[in-house]
C-alpha cells in the first residue's frame, strides 16, 4: 500500500507542478474573474469620447425633446475623471431651402473630417403611424450601437407620446393599464419536520443554467486533465523504459492503482479550488441558498468514479502503445466516450426528466455527467435512480480497472505495433 501511495504522490506532484496545470487550471478562476471585471470596467469606461451628432429633423418637433434627453444622458454620464461614457452633443441642421441630398453630402464630409461623429434624418412623415417611415442614421464607424439604440428608444418614446396625445388618450393612463406583469419561477413548497412551511426557492438563470454548466465543465475538466496526463505519462515511461525499472519494484496493479490514485487526488484538488471559488462567488452575490453540501458530496463521488473509469481506460490504451503517434489513433474511441458524455449533457440540461435523459444517466460513461446534471436541476431524480446509477457506475469502474490491470501487465513490456481489439481482449483473458 505504501508503494501505491508513493506512486500516487509522485503522480500528483508531477501533474500539479506543471505550468499547464498551474496556469490552465488553478489560475483559470482568477483569470475568469479578472476578465469579467475588466470587461465590465471596459464597457463603462473604455469609450468616453463625445459624440457630435447632426440632426435633420423633418418633423420639426422631435429635436427639442431629444436634445433634452441628451442633456439628461450627459449629466448621468458625468464629467472629468468620473465620466463613464460619451456625451451626446446634438445640433439641429437647417436645410434653408437647399436640397436634402446636398446637405447629406456636406454632412458626410464633416463626418469624414471628424467634425461630426454621425448624422441622423427624421423624415417629415415620421409621426404618421400609417406611413411607418424609418429614421436614417449615417456614420463612418460601425461601433455606434449604444448611440443608435439611444436615439431609437428616445425618438420612439416621443413619437408614441405625440400619437397618444393626438388621439386624445392620456399616455400615463395607458402605461398604467398596460403595465407588464413578470413571471418568476419557483421550486415547490414543503412543510418542514417542525410543521412550518419551508418557502420555495426561486429558480433563476443562475440555478437553471449557471450551476449545471459549472458542474458539467468541472466534471469534464477533471476527467480530461487526469486522463490525458495518464496517457502521456505512461507512454513516456514505456518509451524510455522507466516502466521496466518500476516493474522491478512494484507489481503492475500497484503501478496502475498508484497512478489512478494520483489523478483522483488531482481531481479532488481541482474540485476543492473550484468549489471554494464558486461558493465565494455565490456568497458574494447573496445566493448562498444555492450551496448544497449533499450535492457537493454526490459530485465528489461521481467525479472520483469518473476519474477512475476514464483514467483506467486511458492507462490501458497508453500501456498498449509504443509511441505517441499510435496512441493518437487508439485513443479516439475513448475520447469519443468523453465527448459524447459532454455533448449528451446538453440534452439532459434541456429536459432533465425526459426518457432520453434518464436513459443516458444510466449509461456508465455518461452517468457522472448526466446524473449529476439531473441532480442539480430541480426537482432532481428519485433517489433510487441515483443509487442504482452509482452502483452500475461503480461496478463498471471496478471491471474496467481490473481489465486495465490485465492489459497493463502485458502492454507495458510489449513493443512494436499496437495490438488490435481482439488481441487486447486476449490479453484480458490471459
Amino acid at each position: 500500500m505504501n508503494r501505491v501511495l508513493t506512486i500516487a504522490q509522485s503522480e500528483f506532484l508531477t501533474l500539479v507542478k506543471t505550468k499547464a496545470f498551474i496556469i490552465g487550471i488553478l489560475m483559470m478562476p482568477l483569470l475568469m474573474t479578472g476578465f469579467i471585471a475588466f470587461m465590465s470596467y471596459a464597457e463603462s469606461h473604455v469609450d468616453t469620447t463625445d459624440r457630435a451628432v447632426a440632426v435633420i429633423d423633418g418633423t420639426g418637433v422631435l429635436f427639442e425633446p431629444l436634445a433634452r434627453a441628451a442633456d439628461a444622458h450627459n449629466q448621468k454620464a458625468g464629467t472629468g475623471e468620473a465620466k463613464t461614457g460619451p456625451h451626446y452633443l446634438l445640433t439641429r441642421v437647417n436645410l434653408q431651402g437647399r436640397p436634402q441630398e446636398d446637405v447629406t453630402v456636406e454632412l458626410s464630409a464633416r463626418v469624414k473630417d471628424k467634425d461630426l461623429f454621425a448624422f441622423v434624418e427624421f423624415p417629415d412623415g415620421l409621426l404618421d403611424a400609417e406611413k411607418n417611415l424609418p429614421m436614417r442614421f449615417y456614420a463612418e464607424s460601425t461601433t455606434a450601437r449604444d448611440l443608435t439604440n439611444w436615439i431609437e428608444d428616445h425618438v420612439n418614446d416621443e413619437i408614441a407620446k405625440r400619437r397618444f396625445s393626438d388621439a386624445g388618450i392620456d399616455q400615463a393612463l395607458v402605461r398604467k393599464l398596460t403595465a407588464h406583469a413578470d413571471l418568476t419561477t419557483f421550486g415547490l413548497v414543503e412543510r418542514g419536520t417542525d410543521g412550518a412551511v419551508v418557502p420555495a426557492k426561486e429558480i433563476d438563470e443562475l440555478s437553471r443554467i449557471g450551476i449545471p454548466m459549472f458542474v458539467l465543465v468541472l466534471m469534464f475538466m477533471s476527467v480530461m486533465t487526469g486522463a490525458m496526463h495518464l496517457l502521456n505519462a505512461i507512454i513516456e515511461e514505456k518509451m524510455s523504459k522507466i516502466s521496466e525499472v518500476l516493474l522491478g519494484s512494484v507489481t503492475p496493479v500497484q503501478l496502475l492503482l498508484g497512478k489512478l490514485l494520483g489523478v483522483v487526488s488531482v481531481s479532488l484538488l481541482l474540485a476543492f479550488v473550484y468549489f471554494a471559488g464558486g461558493m465565494y462567488a455565490l456568497v458574494s452575490f447573496g445566493r448562498s441558498d444555492l450551496i448544497d453540501p449533499a450535492l457537493i458530496a454526490w459530485f465528489l463521488i461521481f467525479m472520483i468514479s469518473a476519474a477512475l473509469l476514464f483514467g483506467a481506460i486511458f492507462l490501458a490504451i497508453g500501456s498498449a502503445c509504443s509511441n505517441l503517434k499510435d496512441s493518437q489513433s487508439m485513443v479516439q474511441p475513448a475520447m469519443m466516450l468523453i465527448l459524447l458524455a459532454y455533448l449528451g449533457s446538453f440534452v439532459v440540461m434541456r429536459a432533465p426528466e425526459s426518457g432520453i435523459a434518464v436513459g443516458l444517466s444510466f449509461f456508465p460513461t455518461m452517468t457522472p455527467f448526466a446524473m449529476m446534471l439531473r441532480m442539480v436541476m430541480p426537482p432532481g431524480p428519485p433517489m433510487w435512480q441515483v443509487v442504482l446509477s452509482l452502483v452500475v457506475l461503480l461496478a463498471t469502474t471496478a471491471g474496467v480497472v481490473w481489465a486495465a490491470g490485465r492489459i497493463f501487465r502485458i502492454g507495458l513490456l510489449m513493443q512494436g505495433k499496437p495490438p488490435t481489439l481482439p488481441e487486447l481482449l486476449k490479453w484480458i483473458r490471459l
Binding site: 508503494r3 525499472v245 519494484s249
Partner: protein, 309 residues
C-alpha cells in the same frame, strides 16, 4: 557457496518463439556474473524473469533464497540498457522516489543519495532537473537510481555504453566497490573486453539456450587448444591454401589462427613454407569465442537466403 540466483530448467515462449529454452544457472553471492549473447538471444527475457517482471513457462527461479513471486524484489535492482528517467524531475527527488519504491524510508535514503552524488561528482546537480544534465551525467544518475536502495543483487545492462573513458572508469570502480561490499552483480553486455576485465564468471545464451557458463579461465581453456598466435616472415600470405586452417584473424603484424588439426603437425608444415618468428598456443579472447559461437553457420545463411547471394 550460497547462490544469489538459482535458475533450474527454465523455459519461456512468446507465441511460437522459444525465447529461453531449458536454461539452468547458479550465480554465487558476491560475484560479478557476465551475461553475454547476441541481440534477441534471450538475455533480456532471462533478466526479466529474474526480476519477476515476467514468469517462466517452466522451471524454477530462486533469487536471494526466495522462490515466491515478488518476495526478493526489494533487494534486487535493475539498470536497463535504454536509459529512462523522468526528464522534468529534479535529481534528488527522482532518486528518493526510486528508493521509496524499493520500500526504503526517506530518512534512510537521504544520506545514501548524498554519498553517491558525491562519489560520482554530481553534488552540484542534486536539485537540477534531469533534462538539464548531460548524457553522461544522466547515465550516472540512472546508475545511482539502481543502487540507492542498497540492493543485494544488482542487474546492470550495458552500464558503461556511451560513457567517456573517465566516467566509465569511475562507474567501473563503483561496481567493483559494490562487489567488495558483498553485492552480487549480473552484468549484461556486448563489450567483451569489459566483461573479461571485471567478471568472475561468464554466462552466454544463444538462441535461447545456454552455450557458455563458467570462469573466464575455464572457458578459454575449453576453447584455447586450437588457437595459435603467429608472426611470420612473409606475413599472412604464407598461410594461403593451408587446409588445416579453419579461420584467420589478421592483426597486421601478427595473426590469430584457428586450426582444425594438431598444432605440432601444422608447425612442421609451416616451417617448410616460411620463417616462423612467433608460434604461440594462445588463449582465445572472449570476443573470439563469442564470434565463434554466434557467427551464422552456412546452414543459417542458406536458411535466411544470404548463402544464395
Amino acid at each position: 557457496m550460497t547462490q544469489a540466483i538459482e535458475i533450474r530448467s527454465v523455459s519461456k515462449m512468446f507465441g511460437t518463439h522459444q525465447a529461453v529454452d531449458d536454461v539452468s544457472l547458479d550465480v554465487p553471492e558476491g560475484s560479478i556474473y557476465g551475461f553475454i549473447g547476441p541481440n534477441g538471444s534471450g538475455k533480456t527475457t532471462t533478466i526479466r524473469m529474474i526480476m519477476n517482471i515476467i514468469l517462466p513457462d517452466r522451471g524454477d527461479i530462486t533469487v536471494l533464497g526466495e522462490r515466491s513471486r515478488g518476495a526478493a524484489r526489494d533487494d534486487v535492482s535493475y539498470l536497463p540498457e535504454e536509459r529512462g528517467l523522468y526528464k522534468q524531475m529534479p535529481v534528488r527527488r527522482l532518486l528518493r522516489y526510486y528508493g521509496r519504491l524499493k520500500g526504503r524510508r526517506p530518512r534512510d535514503l537521504d544520506p545514501v543519495i548524498t554519498q553517491w552524488l558525491e562519489t560520482l561528482g554530481l553534488t552540484a546537480w542534486a536539485d537540477k532537473r534531469i533534462d538539464t544534465l548531460s548524457k553522461g551525467m544522466a547515465q550516472k544518475v540512472q546508475f545511482i537510481a539502481a543502487v540507492v536502495s542498497q540492493p543485494k543483487l544488482l542487474i546492470l545492462d550495458e552500464p558503461f555504453s556511451g560513457l567517456d573513458p573517465v566516467n566509465a572508469e569511475s562507474l567501473r570502480d563503483a561496481v567493483l566497490n559494490l562487489r567488495r561490499h558483498g553485492t552480487t552483480i549480473v552484468f549484461s553486455t556486448h563489450d567483451m573486453s569489459a566483461a573479461e576485465r571485471i567478471c568472475d564468471r561468464i554466462f552466454m545464451i544463444f538462441k535461447g539456450r545456454k552455450v557458455l557458463d563458467g570462469s573466464l579461465d575455464a572457458i578459454q581453456a575449453e576453447y584455447g587448444h586450437d588457437t595459435i598466435r603467429l608472426r611470420l616472415g612473409q606475413g599472412v600470405g604464407a598461410l594461403a591454401g593451408l587446409p588445416e586452417i579453419e579461420a584467420i584473424n589478421d592483426h597486421g603484424n601478427h595473426q590469430d589462427v584457428r586450426l582444425k588439426s594438431d598444432p605440432q603437425a601444422f608447425l612442421q608444415k609451416l616451417v617448410q613454407r616460411t620463417t616462423v618468428l612467433q608460434f604461440e598456443i594462445a588463449k582465445p579472447s572472449l570476443h573470439d569465442i563469442f564470434i565463434r559461437i554466434a557467427r551464422p553457420t552456412t546452414d543459417d545463411l542458406q536458411a535466411t537466403g544470404e548463402g544464395a547471394r
